[in-house]
């Protein structure tokens, strides 16, 4: 039933990345009942697992659910069958990102995660101002949304007043090793898996 052209079937990869046996799920619905963002999802957790059981890996990878998930771990904690649903969400995100299967409406979340990793790759530690600038810039280039670009600008003076704004961010000393870790991790993830 999987249709992703040319790519490996997603479901064995999801099972191996999440260390979860999807067939264990007996559809009790506890994961969805406890999920704080289920109502924002096109396919809530219980149905997403069912979809995977039935071989719908491609549809699962394209679901907006996986980008709504806030990784709160409630589903995993409450599953009576030890299905690590939060890890399944991670696995689906990783594969969707690798394969470039991102719902247009969820690009903003992905742009944030990419900007974050790119920041770490270069500095070893997070530089918040640069992250915000890179993220807002990337979103603006995509959807030309001016209000979003300046939405949090008013916070800057308030943060500065509280000595929470660092114009020069910290960096790790050995940034060479950080860059090499990223190169190895993204190489291991085939295509565009890292902060590129």
């Amino acid at each position: 039933m999987e249709t992703t052209s040319g790519a490996e079937p997603a479901i064995p990869q999801v099972e191996s990345l999440s260390r979860t046996h999807l067939a264990e799920c007996y559809q009790c619905g506890k994961c969805t009942a406890g999920c704080p963002v289920a109502e924002r999802m096109d396919i809530p957790p219980t149905r997403l697992i069912r979809l995977l059981q039935l071989g719908g890996g491609d549809s699962a990878l394209r679901a907006n659910s996986i980008w709504q998930c806030v990784s709160c771990q409630t589903c995993t904690t409450r599953c009576p069958k030890r299905v690590d649903c939060a890890a399944v969400m991670d696995a689906l995100r990783q594969l969707a990102f690798e394969r470039g299967l991102l719902p247009p409406a969820e690009q903003r979340t992905v742009l944030f995660q990419k900007a974050f990793l790119d920041n770490i790759r270069r500095h070893g530690r997070l530089n918040e101002i640069e992250l915000i600038a890179a993220f807002k810039g990337a979103v603006f280039l995509r959807d030309r949304n001016l209000p979003f670009l300046f939405r949090d600008a008013g916070l800057a003076p308030q943060l500065a007043q509280r000595h929470k704004l660092h114009l020069v961010g910290e960096q790790a000393r050995d940034r060479g090793v950080v860059a090499r870790i990223f190169a190895r991790a993204t190489g291991a993830n085939a295509t565009n898996g890292g902060g590129r």
Binding site: Q73, T76, Q113, I120, L126, R151, K164, A172
Partner: protein, 283 residues
Amino acid sequence: MNLGYYPGCALHGSSNDYEQSLRACLGALDVTLAEIDDWICCGATSAHSLNHKLAIALPARNLALAGRQGLDEMFAPCPMCSMQLLRAGQAMASDPLLRQEISAMVEAEVPNGTRVLNLIQVFQRVGLEKLKGAVKTPLKDLKPACYYGCLLVRPPSVVDFDDAEQPQSMETIVTALGAKPVAWGSKTECCGAGMTMAKTETVLELSGRILANAVAHGANCLVVACPMCHVNLDMKQGEAAAFLGTKFELPVYYLSDIVGMALGLSANQLGVDRHFVVVGGAN
């Protein structure tokens, strides 16, 4: 007591009030912190969302650096960092080949069995009796809603700390300081975590619900042990209230603020005066 210390990016960034607070408070309790030399970011949500290997390798590098310093345990005040460090350690503990691979990847031998402590565990290590004995200003007017959020207690298979649904460890500590914690319903609900920038509405809705629940149960402050929870519940409190069409004025304290205040430290020493919601609205 001397503890290995992994501050993580937030505590050296805009959550530096948390670091100020825990350094002041733990200093008063004779706990010294040995910072991991040249630590790097744990990768946080971005790594575990986009790249499986990176989500293990980044925290593993820090485990290896701690090992080089002869530290077999470290205090990670951010539950996100804490969870990533624990996860990486556990993945490698059950898979020696993975440990070899990751050690090569991070160019340092990753040791087995490094313990990772959260802030509550550090206070437990100090001991309730010592805390009680050190109280100078009992917090008798404080009715805190102790907020654990997600990653301090979930998933139990990784963090193995307190009860995942009805944790009580923070209540035990604040009660020892003379405070009267309230019973409430949102102590382990999610605040929206790292989605503050990317999905602001989600954060405002989830954080707003938590604040409303704390108020409805008679709390006069929130207590947290996580920098992200603090950002969402304190800095975003005004926006969350507006999102729900209401108003809140609920100070949000780090657990180390509360302990520090009971030990007689001032708001200024603890950095409480740098929060967004200040008692009396004096911000």
